[in-house]
Structures are given as structure tokens and as C-alpha cells.
Symmetry: C2
Subunit: 198 residues, 2 copies
């Protein structure tokens, strides 16, 4: 059976984004580019981890990862990733505001889900077939899936910065032993792979 | 010049202790023994990290790490570590309640410091001579030293459990790029060594 995975890059104090997220600064304040530097400057040292991020057959993300807007949809907005997003697969966006699906180039389709994380997972599983479903972020979405016990493997990519504030991974999660953990360090990041029991 | 180091074992969500710390459960609720398992069951895989923990020439710890009591001193209480504590060096305990120094067997002396973290560090530096000063914990004490920019090297030992609540490392710390980070994984723990610029 396919698995539910999650990749998220965080500061060493666990923030996936800084405070004050805006259109111009989608990850917020605080030199937060440093959290993602490993994927670009360190790409050669982290080939398997980078490839694993987009290997899933379907993705789920929170509204705030998709859009800087927070209320009714601006229908001109089609995500942060341009005409051909790097997902190349169905992407399910959690939102309280209904919207028709948006088809992008290269196989990415954005479907907007208004009836909760379990419904989104069900739809993503159906779309992914034998492949994995990936929880793409942000932190609030990851935390909801962790708290609901729906993630098999969470891959934290820990970068050498303290953000001190913002959107934190592992807020509101339960006391829970991991089945196992693995770790690998490269110049710009330490990868922590957390397996949860199901 | 000697350095200020810090070793602290944490859950993957960053808690050094669970909620409800008591005499019987000094690390609080939540199967928190799992956070420290690597030092005992995994000792052979982590020899250098275990040895590094007690290599300093003087130690600083918070009152709550030394004692389950929170108010006036119970003078019969001499720490959690028995007659011959594993420090074998001067230990400075941060507290709001004055107390005479307590000399233990094997070189450990507990000195109680009531005038703040900088005073404790100054005293510990003088006691350590050419050797390092180690911030021994708990989380609140570590966070104060991180926030004050007084730590050179923080060694996080990350264990495969979510605690979900308790005493968290990196609360109230500033936005700050690390000078560097190193990582090493063994069966029961991932060691993250964080270097701060001074």
C-alpha cells in the first residue's frame, strides 16, 4: 500500500517559515532563505533527498503555502510555482473557500478541498494510485496530519539557523514514540527521517 | 580561550523534559526516558558524545535540574546524582534562594548563584581555567544562555519520540544564523552540533 510522506525544511528551532508572510516574502521574515539553501546551493550533496520531495503521486498543501491571500480567492492567483509547477501531479489545497480546479502545464492540477484533511487525503490517495501521497506543507498542515496519526514518514530537513518565531512544526502534536529515526548530514542541512507507527 | 558548550537531549519536537516534573519523575510525563536511552543502551555507539558531556572544567545548571523543590531549600537535598556525582568538577546552580556551597565526593562542588546567568558564567570560567564551561540544562537555562549569545557550541541529542509538551529548547531565542552545524546519527539518537558566532 502506498504511504503518506512529508518533507519539510525547518530551522534548527523548528520553524518552517518566519513571521509576517507576504506576497513578496512568502516564507516571512528572518533570513529564512537559509532554511531552503540546501536544496539549491547544496543540490549535488542532497540529490536523493531533493528527488524524494517530488516523487509522490499526489500532494496536499495548506492554503497558506499556495497563496499569500487569506480570504476569498483572487482567481488570477495560480500558486507560487509559475505555469509549470514542479509537482507534475495532482495537488490538493486545503481551504475554507471553494474554488474550481486549476489545471497547470506539466501534469499539475490544483484541486481545492473544503471538507478537511481526511477528505483531502482520501482524494489524494485515489489520485496517487500505487504511489505515495506527500504532505507538502506548511507547518500547520503538517501538524494537523501528525496529530491525526496519518503520516508514515516525516522527513525534516534541518538548516543551520534559528528563526525564533513563525510557523513551527510539531505544535499541538501528541506524545508519541517514533517507530524509528534516521539521520544524514551534509554541509548545509541535517536530514531527520521520522517513521511513525500506524 | 576556553569555550562555552552545552549538551542537551531532546525529543524530535524539541522538549528536554515532559510536563509535571516531580521527585519521582524528574523529567516529567510522557515516556521521557526514551530521550535519554541513547546514553545508556546506546553507549557504545556514542562514546565520544557521552564523554564530551562531562569533559568540561565547570558546569552550570538551573535550579529545576538540580532539585524537584521550587521554593526555599530543603538542605538535605543534594542533587539527583548521589554522593559522587558524575561531574567531578565545580557545578554552579542558578537559583533565587541563597544557599551555602555543598561539597560532594569525587570533585563535584555545588555552588548556588543568585545574581544571574552572567555571574554564574564568570564564576564557572574562573573555576574551569583552561577547560570549557558546560551549560548542563535544563531547557530554560539553555534558552537564557542562547538568547544572551553566550554559547559557542550547542550539542542537541535528538531522540525518536514526540513529547508534545513540557520544557522546550529554543523558546524565546532570537533570529540568528548559526556559524555551522554538524550531524551524526546512530541507532537511538541524532547528534546535531550547532556552532554560534561570537
Amino acid at each position: 500500500m502506498s504511504e503518506v510522506t512529508c518533507d519539510i525544511s525547518v530551522s534548527v528551532d523548528g520553524f518552517a517559515a518566519g513571521p509576517n508572510q507576504t506576497l513578496e516574502e512568502p516564507f516571512g521574515d528572518g533570513d529564512v532563505e537559509r532554511v531552503h539553501r540546501w536544496m539549491f546551493e547544496g543540490r549535488e550533496d542532497n540529490v536523493s533527498e531533493v528527488e524524494a520531495i517530488t516523487a509522490a503521486g499526489a500532494f496536499i498543501m495548506g492554503r497558506n503555502m499556495f497563496s499569500p491571500g487569506r480570504g476569498e480567492w483572487d482567481l488570477d492567483w495560480k500558486g507560487y510555482w509559475g505555469e509549470e509547477p514542479p509537482y507534475h501531479a495532482p495537488v490538493f489545497v486545503l481551504t475554507h473557500h471553494p474554488r474550481e480546479p486549476v489545471e497547470m502545464q506539466g501534469g499539475t492540477t490544483y484541486t481545492f478541498v473544503t471538507d478537511g484533511i481526511e477528505s483531502a487525503l482520501e482524494q489524494a490517495r485515489a489520485a496517487a494510485g500505487d504511489r505515495n501521497v506527500s504532505i507538502a506543507g506548511g507547518a500547520a498542515t503538517v501538524n494537523q496530519y501528525v496529530a491525526a496519526g496519518l503520516i508514515d514518514e516525516l522527513r525534516l530537513h534541518v538548516a543551520p539557523i534559528l528563526l525564533g518565531a513563525g510557523e513551527r512544526v510539531f505544535e499541538g502534536v501528541p506524545n508519541l514514540a517514533l517507530q524509528s529515526m534516521a539521520g544524514r548530514h551534509t554541509d548545509l542541512v541535517t536530514h531527520l527521517t521520522c517513521r511513525f507507527s500506524r
